[in-house]
Symmetry: C2
Subunit: 368 residues, 2 copies
């Protein structure tokens, strides 16, 4: 893909008079990182140096700079894409990464989600409505307790039950014991109800540790996993996705906050690397992302983008059964609604509350 | 280490009246992440829930909150430590992570640098003065060109020559070809001069890719590597360090910008996970970290901290030979001075300029 370019848009918090100069410095920083007069190789200047395509002053006093980065500098390494997009300039507080566009060959190289929205519907058997999702909490519980909870949620008809993202290999419920107990609980519930529930364990550690965790779980019939790409590194995420083409990966946004705009990071980059589901902190919960930001994440997840399968956006972070009608209106059928703590807060009425969640998603009315 | 706690200090950008409440919410967010009234297990509330130790209003209108996180929630996983410290709250712009302290057993678990400052001095043969370091640029060059540059720098007496952090496996100079040519160049130079120069290739991709890169390079006698822990994931970094106890790891700060204070992230967490050298953007160059921040990074790198070896701080990011006396005064002998682009800018006079760098570090005077 020699000659192909990645288009990256940055917001520069500098005066309009400095913006063009600052953009040129950024282009050097994010590619050759040395004084250009000392670059003796004309090919490098022509083909590897990042180029400034456009600089546009904005009404708010910042400027938007569009840079063209050479695909040659990235190759097929997801980590290297992050590095070239935002490695050094993450250390420059006046720079934000706002948006990215990649050429078709680079999109093919990373390949996006294994299953995408259609595949998730096949996996869960849920057609033409949002998927329901909840989380196994709190960390520190026993595996037996998490498995019991898993069974309760599955019998109530929840589509996807994921580990809390804080689960790793804690001694109270080590991975192998927890995953085996929880997977058995959803399978047992499925036999009783005739419905399919997907249990998604949380992956932790390094690529080789995660590889072993996946192998152990898939032998039990597990088909989906929770992963935090910004914690484990996007290259690890991308490699696991490529290695396991039949599995679904649910991306958790832990450590993803910062100066890369959420619609670009969660809605585009994580989709590019392989997120079948993108969990994001929805407005009106415990997080303060504005509604437009949340909607832009969902839009990017599902927009036509090269040949990449769409990711399923999963608004989360303090949602409740009462908000299901609003969430359905806002995000439509091709979404996964994640309600965790608020179901657990129902205590003895957890099963009832979970059924109300399932019913509200299915028919648009919130059961009492 | 049941019962041990990690002390994490956060800056809360909320009014003083809300600070105590906000700190309690943060403690829940960074541990159990669910309504506490629904936690039925007393052990979990007592031993796993994060606790607020202190909340102190500051003169600038923010508050500092000290939280105690349970080591049980982290185990021995570096990624999970990042997750519990800052995973979810990275998505809450009103929260910054300012400082961390870990109990002795957790420090032993991660173990810190393999070699530390004393080991780097043994590796390079450089005693009682700062080490000199430079970088091979620009990406896009041929392996032969980088090897020639490597030879020039080595003959000038530079201690450590690292790949630019943008080097991965680009077709112009694939890893195997580049590393083998550059390592041969430093060995040849060493035979001619009788001095030792260390060449540090840049690692890219996943843990298993990096593992292969290390094996290939160490067979050629390579003893140090450049790695960007926030790009590859800290668990990958920590695992490679544990696997290769005789090697030095130079940590690059790519993607490390954000709302974790640099002295905590670069000076403490990267040291904890194994950085023999911590590269950081020094004040007065292309980056705008204040001098106090840079000095705090260096202080944390070298402070007595459990039994962990000290990391060598490496001020970088637009330094020049002219600044060597000032850098020596500011950072002292136990530092590595990294000058990249400014040596390359000398063009035909590169060798002369590199010798001036070496001489300035050795004797405190800047050669003409």
């Amino acid at each position: 893909m020699s000659g192909d370019r990645i288009r990256a848009t940055y917001r520069l918090h500098v005066g309009a008079a400095q913006a063009a100069h600052r953009a040129r410095l950024l282009a050097v920083e994010q590619s050759l990182e040395m004084p250009l007069e000392a670059v003796g190789d004309g090919r490098v200047l022509a083909e590897v140096l990042a180029r400034v395509e456009q600089v546009e002053p904005q009404d708010d006093g910042t400027s938007l700079a569009r840079l063209l980065l050479a695909c040659e500098s990235v190759g097929d390494d997801a980590g290297q894409l992050m590095n070239m997009l935002f490695g050094n300039c993450s250390l420059q507080p006046e720079v934000e990464l706002i948006d990215i566009e990649v050429p078709a060959p680079l999109a093919r190289t990373f390949g996006g989600p294994n299953l995408g929205i259609a595949g998730l519907r096949r996996l869960t058997g849920a057609a033409e409505r949002p998927l329901t999702c909840t989380a196994l909490k709190p960390i520190g519980s026993t595996a037996a307790r998490m498995a019991a909870l898993c069974g309760d949620f599955a019998r109530a008809g929840i589509d996807v039950i994921k580990d809390d993202h804080g689960w790793a290999n804690q001694p109270s419920a080590p991975y192998a014991e927890r995953v085996s107990a929880c997977q058995r609980a959803v399978l047992d519930a499925g036999e009783a109800t005739g419905r399919r529930t997907v249990y998604a364990p949380s992956l932790y550690g390094t690529q080789s540790q995660m590889q072993r965790q996946i192998e152990m779980a898939r032998a039990l019939g597990v088909t989906a996993f929770l992963i935090a790409p910004m914690v484990c590194g996007v290259a690890t995420f991308d490699a696991l996705k490529r290695e396991h083409r039949d599995l679904a990966f649910i991306a958790h946004p832990a450590l993803a906050g910062g100066r890369i705009a959420p619609p670009a990071l969660l809605g585009k980059l994580l989709r590019l690397f392989g997120a079948d589901v993108v969990i994001f902190p929805n407005h009106g919960g415990r997080f303060t992302y504005p509604a437009e930001t949340c909607q832009a994440i969902a839009r990017n997840c599902r927009a036509r983008w090269h040949e990449l399968r769409p990711s399923m956006p999963a608004p989360a972070g303090g949602m409740s059964v009462e908000r299901v009608p609003e969430l359905k209106r806002e995000y439509g059928a091709d979404s996964m609604l994640l309600i965790g703590g608020s179901l657990l807060a129902a205590g003895e009425r957890l099963t009832e509350r979970s059924r109300a969640f399932v019913a509200a998603v299915a028919d648009g009315k919130v059961a009492a």
